[in-house]
């Protein structure tokens, strides 16, 4: 089966206050593929995630990013989200006063508006929400609390995945989704990601650890160093990183 190209990054160079973060990065993701990016601290992993999700105002950028036949750099974060890109934040933001349930409903209605369909009915919304809460083993009380306010690290990450499931995006970036999660929560999160995964969904996982590979099958593993990909391989590469450290590949 020929996979269609979803994301094509070519010669991407970004700098922030004259410091080069991504350096002539080339990288492709096809529909249905799952990629992992590993790399030492400061390699540019989170910068890549930020740029791909539309938060690129603070960077000087050259090169091209084509997402779904569109110039990604010309779209705002809001438009990218509406066009199916989802970033699971490394540090989800707390929004005191805004209940999770209201936030969820607001963004689902924004999506429906973009798709020119009617706002979601309450019953449909609750059915969708409850099914996904069950999948992630999240108590329904959590939906009535303010977004991420007072949540534990694990709850915040589960809340990100819950939003992913509700929005049903085409391309997901999971930025260190495994940090702050205990083993049980990690299993639940990747169980949900596996449920979500299909031939039309592409996933980019940014992580430091190979432990996530126990819970999800990935197509490619890349090592990012000094803003460029220095090695690409399969799952075995991640275990090599774990065994020898990054210095082995430099």
């Amino acid at each position: 089966m020929i996979k269609s190209n979803l994301l094509n990054i070519s010669n991407l160079t970004t700098s922030f206050t004259n410091k080069i973060i991504l350096n002539k990065l080339n990288f492709k993701i096809n529909s249905g593929e799952t990629h992992v990016i590993m790399g030492p601290n400061g390699a540019g992993k989170s910068t890549l995630a930020n740029i791909l999700s539309g938060n690129h105002d603070q960077y000087n950028i050259s090169g091209n990013i084509i997402y779904d036949n569109t110039n990604l750099l010309s779209l705002s974060a809001e438009k990218l989200a509406l066009n199916g890109i989802f970033l699971s934040f490394q540090h989800p933001v707390e929004i005191p006063g805004l209940s999770n349930i209201n936030f969820f409903k607001s963004f689902l209605n924004a999506k429906n508006k973009h798709l020119k369909i009617n706002p979601i009915e309450n019953n449909d919304f609750m059915t969708l929400l409850n099914a996904n809460l069950k999948l992630l083993n999240i108590k329904s009380e959590l939906t009535h609390r303010s977004v991420n306010d007072g949540f534990s690290g694990g709850e915040k990450k589960k809340n990100e995945i819950l939003q992913m499931l509700l929005l049903d995006p085409k391309f997901v970036i999971l930025d260190e989704i495994d940090s702050g999660l205990d083993i049980d929560s990690l299993k639940l999160v990747f169980n949900a990601v596996n449920t979500f995964k299909n031939n039309n969904k592409s996933i980019l996982i940014i992580t430091h650890y190979s432990r996530i590979l126990k819970y999800i099958d990935v197509d490619f593993v890349h090592i990012l160093h000094n803003g460029t990909i220095i090695k690409t391989g399969d799952q075995a590469l991640a275990y090599d990183v774990e065994k020898h450290g990054y210095s082995y590949f430099l």
Binding site: N55, I95, N102, S106
Partner: protein
């Protein structure tokens, strides 16, 4: 159905010379479910009846039964209009508006004496005050309106002499009463100086839920001072919202004189343009086992300046006191100023007290997070503002819902 009350209010006043009718219509618009009735309303309609105030006692049994049968929860049953009852067979309407003109009134007392049967059958009581000049008046609440919602609308007339108005209002809540007062202040006329003094006496074993929405757009000066005197074992839950686009000076003095009295206060102030607002809350704990909870939140925009001073005072050798004072501000503009000054003056040992203040701006990190879910910037700001206000408004209380329905985003912005 969600009409912008303030807009309609202004429009009606401009377009309709008969301002009594305008006021009456505004009144209906508040309760949007009845909005459709407005266009059907014609006071000259042959099917409507205007009954003289004094002739009400002659109402026959059929009419009394009619009122009884048509009184439903949340339905508009009675309005007071210009010393006349007006009711219409068309839409279950029964109204009376009182004009207050340089005289002292105790009109609820009159009702208590003569029309308690009527009150017992009604879900709500509506009062409109059309205030023309200097006034002292009182409202005494007795047993027969226990558990009722009392709506008081204060609409100021443009014919005020010298553009200055001073009002004193006395509200007495008698023993063992539980009631809700929902009060509204409106004024759209320019350069008026208002000085409103309100005196509340809460007798033993009473619960008063008092809701106030104040919307002055008069480019003038508004002084509102409240005095609450609490006797034994009573609770006052006081929630107020100030949308004023004027210079506003609000002082609240709560005297917890009796044992086991509680004062729960939640306030919202929305400041905008160049106006300066000053709020001073003084809570005096003068007896044992008294509690106070004050939560003040404010939104500031443009170049407005807001000053809040909260003082909790605990007298000598007073025991088992619980007092909390918290204020939070959200600045929507870099040019606005919010200044909070929560103070506690404790002269006793057996006291649990907390006070705190926090002020913040609309946070870019939050905006980024929200836009990454597909919400546009304006929608995000709207949601943040509403979330902030929901710290006070997010409740199932029907009366707060009424206030909330009147807080449209455009009013705030």
């Amino acid at each position: 159905m969600n009409k912008n009350i303030l807009f309609v209010y202004k429009k009606l006043l401009n377009n309709n010379k008969n301002f009594y009718i305008s006021y009456f219509r505004i009144f209906l618009i508040f309760y949007s479910k009845h909005y459709l009735l407005i266009d059907n309303l014609n006071l000259n309609n042959s099917k409507s009846k205007i009954i003289n105030y004094n002739s009400l006692s002659k109402l026959n049994t059929t009419f009394k039964n009619y009122i009884k049968n048509n009184s439903k929860n949340n339905s508009l049953n009675i309005i007071f209009f210009n010393n006349l009852y007006i009711y219409s067979n068309n839409f279950d309407l029964f109204l009376f508006i009182k004009i207050i003109n340089n005289q002292n009134y105790n009109y609820l007392n009159l009702f208590n004496n003569f029309y308690f049967e009527l009150f017992n059958n009604l879900s709500f009581v509506y009062i409109i005050n059309l205030i023309f000049s200097i006034n002292n008046y009182s409202i005494n609440i007795y047993n027969n309106i226990i558990n009722k919602n009392i709506f008081i609308f204060n609409l100021f007339n443009f014919e005020i002499i010298n553009n200055f108005l001073s009002i004193k209002k006395y509200i007495l809540i008698n023993k063992n009463i539980k009631c809700n007062i929902i009060e509204f202040f409106f004024n759209d006329f320019n350069k008026i100086i208002l000085n409103i003094n309100m005196f509340f006496k809460l007798n033993n074993n009473t619960i008063l839920n008092y809701y106030l929405i104040s919307d002055f757009k008069n480019n003038g000066y508004n002084y509102i001072t409240f005095f609450f005197k609490h006797y034994f074992n009573n609770i006052l839950n006081f929630i107020d919202i100030y949308l004023n686009q004027t210079y506003s000076f609000v002082t609240i003095n709560s005297f917890l004189i009796g044992k086991h009295t509680r004062f729960n206060k939640k306030s919202i102030k929305i400041s905008k343009f160049h106006f300066i607002d000053k709020f001073i809350y003084n809570i005096y704990h003068y007896n044992d086992s008294t509690q106070s909870n004050v939560f003040f939140i404010s939104l500031s925009n443009n170049t407005s300046k807001l000053i809040f001073i909260g003082n909790i005072i605990v007298g000598n050798k007073i025991k088992h006191i619980n007092a909390n004072l918290k204020c939070e501000g959200l600045m929507l503009s870099n040019s606005s100023i919010i200044q909070f000054d929560p103070n506690m003056f404790i002269n006793s040992n057996d006291v649990q007290c907390f006070h705190g203040a926090s002020i913040g701006c609309v946070n870019n990190t939050i905006l980024k997070y929200m836009t990454s879910r597909g919400l546009d910037l304006n929608e995000c700001k709207k949601i943040i503002i509403i979330s902030f206000l929901n710290k006070i408004l997010n409740t199932n209380d029907i009366n707060i819902s009424i206030l909330k329905n009147n807080l449209k985003f455009n009013n705030i912005k």
